[in-house]
């Protein structure tokens, strides 16, 4: 009896959520239309010997599976918070992975002892500085933020 009431409560909760969906979808579309996304680029430490990387390898690196690139160079990955718009743009357009999928992939590895999280930084400026000064480092910034101290990697 008690449970039936609880189920009813959950159903009503779901209903009220359904209303929010439409509102949220609308808002989302508006927000996306307003944000003329500045393209993101992958950057690497200037000492790297390559200027291009296959998308699958990049996914494996940002998915924290592949720890060496190119050849035997240890990689160090820098990212922003999951909810940073730059992170979402980078994930979706460059990696072509939804940010929550990336998070899931990290969680699956960290909580089974198979991998670690990438290092999270506060801003793309910080990523720019750390990538420039850390051998083997990779990260992402807005295309218009790139400077001489990092190398932009093409996707091949």
């Amino acid at each position: 009896m008690q449970t039936n009431l609880l189920i009813k409560y959950v159903v009503s909760l779901l209903r009220s959520c359904a209303v929010r969906v439409f509102a949220a979808c609308l808002l989302c579309n508006v927000a996306q239309a307003q944000n003329d996304e500045v393209p993101m680029v992958v950057i690497a430490h200037p000492g790297t010997s390559r200027d291009a990387i296959p998308r699958e390898s990049l996914r494996a690196i940002f998915g924290m599976l592949l720890h060496k690139w190119p050849a035997d160079t240890p990689v160090r990955v820098f990212v922003l918070r999951d909810d940073a718009p730059e992170h979402a743009t980078f994930s979706k357009t460059i990696l072509q992975v939804f940010p929550h999928q990336l998070r899931m992939a990290w969680d699956r590895q960290v909580f089974s002892g198979q991998g670690q999280y990438p290092e999270q930084l506060g801003s793309t400026q910080e990523i720019l500085v750390r990538v420039a000064t850390t051998p083997g480092a990779m990260g992402y910034v807005k295309a218009n933020e790139v400077n001489q101290n990092v190398r932009v990697l093409r996707i091949r």
Binding site: M1, R20, A24, E56, D72, G113, Q116
Partner: protein, 403 residues
Amino acid sequence: MYAYSGFAKSAVTVALIGALSLTTTLARALDLFDGDLQVHGFLMQSLINTDDNNFLGRSKDRFSTDFREIGVNASWRATPEVQLSAELLSHRAGGTDDGDLRLDYGLVDWTPYSSESGRGGVRFGRVKTSYGLYNKTRDVPFTRPSVILPQSIYFERTRNLTVSADGGEIYVENYGGGGLLSASFALGLPHADTESARVALVGLNRPGRLESDLASNFQLLYEEAGGKYRVSLTAARLDLRYKPGAGDSLRAGRLGLTPVVFSAQYNAEKWSLTGEYAVRRTSARDFGPFFYNGRADGESYYLQGTYQLAPRWEALLRYDAYYADRSDRNGRDFAAATRVPAFTRFAKDWTTGVRFDVTPAFMLRAEAHRVDGAGFLPAQDNPNPLALRQKWNLFMLLGSFRF
């Protein structure tokens, strides 16, 4: 009295959350190896209520607080080829697990082969078992789609037997052609001699013990387009021997379990669809006249959809079906042979739920199940099979924190 103990438990939980927050600060301070050492963990407390039958504690017409998970892990990437990791876990689950602190995994992951297009290596120590899409992190609430995983495939009942094994796992991964292909093969000793494995496999109050041979496990996983499509195949083999105790009504029997699981998942930006199908061949022989000897092919499957209602809200709908023997789906033959109710041989479970991420580190969940059948209920929580009811409702609330 009950109200008081409920309060005491909540107080303990709050204290633990406090302690974990402290650990977070500590972990940040513990950045000794330039970020190569990471400490993470989680804490989950749930409330379980059923209108009939007990699940995860004494839940009938009351709220059981006996489903609780606390884990802390550390990993150290010693070199780009070698990672050391370990997790301590307390998993309390009604009568099937007392929450004693255990080493959930403790392993060395060595990747001698690595190139732009793939890598290969070996993990040895206590390694989590690959099984379907969720088993490796089955006790981590944030990685599950619901409060409890679909019970037809991820039984709470036999968890200790399937969660990890002491041995090794070889793995290879290939990145190319638009996807990720990985394969793993593991050999190890599962944790067979635990009370919960014994009860699940040979029944309550047996004086003997179970021993396991080396168990093998193979998984093939393909992910297309960064995890948009995921398909996998798992096959495992477990052989167990029963050593009768003093005055045992059972003889030295043997059990063989050969599950095969097919999994498929599609992930869109706002919704995802997951299905898994398993055939579980079980054989029991030489246990003597007081046991249901014989061979049966169990069948399990579920179909699950999740939908992101709003940025921090997610809804879940799932149908999950379990049959202990697919040639006796309604359990009538079994009931005729054993006088145990036929509906203990299947369970059909409709689940709806919502998840709310209060913050990225704190999650709340509510979930309702309408179940037909008692197939996945543990005997420890329901010692008398004749007191079971066929149709029952289950309601669960969960709060989980992680760092």
